[in-house]
Symmetry: C2
Amino acid sequence: MATPSSLLLSRADLDFLLHDWLDAGSLTSRERFTEHSRETFDAVLDVCAEIAAERFAPHNKRNDIEEPRFDPTGGGRVVLHDEVRPALDALAGTGLLAATADASVGGLQLPHVVRSACVAWFAAANIATWGYAFLTAANANLLLAHGSDAQIDTWVRPMLEGRFHGTMCLSETQAGSSLADVSTRAEPQDDGTYRLTGTKMWISAGDHELGENIVHLVLAKIPGGPAGVKGISLFVVPKFLAGGADGNPGEHNDVVLAGLNHKMGYRGTTNTVLNLGEGRHTPGGAAGAVGYLVGEPHRGLTYMFHMMNEARIGVGAGAAALGYTAYLKSLDYARTRPQGRPVTGRDPGQPQVPIVEHADVRRMLLAQKSYAEGALALVLYCGRLLDEQETAPEQAGRDRAGLLLDVLTPIAKSWPSQWCLAGNDLAIQVLGGYGYTREYDVEQHYRDNRLNPIHEGTHGIQAIDLLGRRTAAAGGAGLDALDGLLAATIARARAGGDEEAGRYADQLDAARARLMEVTRALHAEPDATVRLANASIHLEAAGHVVLAWIWLEQLLAAGGRDDDLGNGKRAAARYFFHYELPRTGPQLDLLAALDRTTTDLDPSWL
Amino acid sequence: MATPSSLLLSRADLDFLLHDWLDAGSLTSRERFTEHSRETFDAVLDVCAEIAAERFAPHNKRNDIEEPRFDPTGGGRVVLHDEVRPALDALAGTGLLAATADASVGGLQLPHVVRSACVAWFAAANIATWGYAFLTAANANLLLAHGSDAQIDTWVRPMLEGRFHGTMCLSETQAGSSLADVSTRAEPQDDGTYRLTGTKMWISAGDHELGENIVHLVLAKIPGGPAGVKGISLFVVPKFLAGGADGNPGEHNDVVLAGLNHKMGYRGTTNTVLNLGEGRHTPGGAAGAVGYLVGEPHRGLTYMFHMMNEARIGVGAGAAALGYTAYLKSLDYARTRPQGRPVTGRDPGQPQVPIVEHADVRRMLLAQKSYAEGALALVLYCGRLLDEQETAPEQAGRDRAGLLLDVLTPIAKSWPSQWCLAGNDLAIQVLGGYGYTREYDVEQHYRDNRLNPIHEGTHGIQAIDLLGRRTAAAGGAGLDALDGLLAATIARARAGGDEEAGRYADQLDAARARLMEVTRALHAEPDATVRLANASIHLEAAGHVVLAWIWLEQLLAAGGRDDDLGNGKRAAARYFFHYELPRTGPQLDLLAALDRTTTDLDPSWL
């Protein structure tokens, strides 16, 4: 079933965020982007909207119903239905897999902020099919940054052309959140390659036949290295070895599909258990899966974090996109579904009104709007920071962008994953019984989105990362940068003459000051157990403060616009400041009290 | 796969709630319950735990995977897999379908509070199979209260024996939340029966072959009656007419299965569209589905509300049970899954610790415990109130119980539906990637539970009912009764000498006073639109205040017990007062401000 692009995202909102707010057009004066213009940005977004609506959305439900299945013939393969590959081929045909890459490797050299907007179209239309492209692009970007020229030629170029696909193989059964416990071994060989043995778990897109080859990026330990995360190295382990001079795949590497995980949602992205070096294949006549070291030994996790930071913002973008499309679909339903009458006059002789007239339905829609548009704005802002980090004319600007990006990454991952999921829950509620059926889309959006607080580092992992590392590093430099960012907007809002914006500036300022005070007090707490006990609450409070800033920014960017978009931004900002930001009060109180409810618990009491 | 009863509910907690807290044994001194004793109560619970674990739990996952399917042969029938009927037959064999009914109709005359505990076992094990029994029992109870002796003999006795099943047919496509818009017509016939024509939507258990007959209770309008809800009458419309003297079913009534709804969860309970009087069958040679009026014309909704109040508390009980079992399963996982190390020393040379050692996992477990045990306590308390309403020695006690029950019903429906669903979400998170797979139970519990905020009156409908009707009725008598209930516990806690309980009493007292003040101010607001605009927020705040009372009650009932159960109750109470009750502060602020964000909105801004 085709879904019009107007039910995926709002193009008017994207234009507002990219141009009225983030001034993406100004980037075209920088050397890296001189080939671009507002027109090329617009054209790229047009193409994305079209492909998303016409190639991705039509099989979104089919991805859920006909999930990838394991075919044991030929030693095990994954069978996908027949609409996935044409969609990915159409996407690859646009060159967008190399959206931000250098022209020298066939890239479009688009700004990250524009690419983020592109991503949102595909994720909104069909997050499971998008998943394959997402992983391939992230894999390619990592190798572009840390791989050798030969690795780039052999593996990256075919990925950017859409001929090869990519994965990231981190987790193992006993090593999910705890990567220190990775036990896959990589034995060095005389020819400079390695032979890997082990089992990788939760590998998305780990097997399929969507292209000619699959390039796995695998974390493994070289015997004799340091214990824990400092002994982890990164390898390219292709499904098929490189073949002849034409670049076609050669011998089957010893990477074997051991099984599929069957998920609550996100079903179209196959999720696999992979055995490396189990002996099914003997490439080159020897045992073990052939792997090629990326960069230096024992630095694998550092390289992987390059990809993971990008992937974490990508997870947030996907969550935002799912929140956005479910919002638009529930809004569409609410405007056309008659049910009930105004509470001021329930005359059964009068016709029923559309449910968008009911205050509680409006609350559920405004909440979704504030979550989805806010989350999308946040991930676009992170894209903009990435552009600043890479291309700002002054070093100080690049450093500041890097600091902000570092602190905002866990929030950009977790906040959309939590609140756009909550938005999906509200979308189901708006549709009522219909929303609970599989005939409508919203329950699938919920189920798909439910993965996002889990993968790429759980909510709890992000929280410890934010409080324990990113805000505390370098004497709290990242936290100070965030503080300065918020303070500048608050000052601008107070000076701007918009009475409502001024009130919200005061409200944000109080929350900002409290957040900073509490975070610094936590940093000063010597007992790590107590310091980090409520890190998740801290992440959630910090997220809501940042999103309040996002909404104040949007309110200011909308200025005095007295059109639907401007009034809508004002209404959503009002919702956020009236209903959402106040949630942080009790959270910050709890944090300030160094609450020990969980640390003092004896598990036998549960 | 068998699930031990210890992963469904905690029998120790049930005993604590029923006896240490609610003193269920004292009921046996009342005339209605003289045949019972602590021993009979225990025996009934033992049987429920056994049947739930051995007959219901083993096919819970199969209900999800092999959902009921439509077989078009023979004019359309529903096919269920083969484990549902034996489970329901085993349940019927215990006599528990007639748990609270009079002995004169074959009932066990158990107290409602004990029956509520029984229900929780079956719902925890397999809510979809339990759904058939739930509807049959609710239907029977309505007819026992409002049906004629002949109707009781013909329809109720076979239902209580498990030979017939029952449904409630309220909704139509255009009349879900708005029952005033029911358009099914009931034409009176010369013989005193009626002929019904119309289409009913969302009818759970609307067709199947689990018994000899299905007794539909149908809302319809007799032509010429008043408009809206005052013109709705209630009819018995059996699938098969009564047959010969042996009571066996006779001719097929014109009730035709038009289709099945395919749900996100709760899949084992078939959900149907039923056509009445479409002409497929012509019982007695005439057109229309034969219906028998229950009670008087135009009083159908009043009778139905009898069933709906019971059903609403039953929905809360089901939600609580799903929250409970997912809590126990995620706790079991957390105690046995090693992952990561303490934040105080991340030496990779040390073995990993069970994740229950991590503070954030404990937070997610304590939250679930506070939601699940709190919700179960609330629904048991409502059962106890029902017993008081029916059997308290003094009229004043019966009246007070009725007032409290009236006010607590929307909370007992909505709070477990919201927070035990949130608990299920946390259970998924505790299990991480495993929790997101269908190999584990918790994602299904979430999907099953997601129905509960929708059916039997949505969250928003309950909210308007609580604020607009139940707390405002009779000059706020119900609200005053609730206030008195809370105040008495607060006084007891302050006088009891437990310092922690005294602090929570003060905290609860402040929230109680604010809730009462705000609720009364809202009652006084003349503009209904503004008064009810944030009714859902009011419902949520009132729910959290009531649950804080539940937790203070449990803390007091646990007294100084220094065992796992007592310490666990204290820990969960502490969690609730530290992390949960403070959420009501911003909610009550918003309500006190008569916030107009939603009412001032122009829908075109969305």
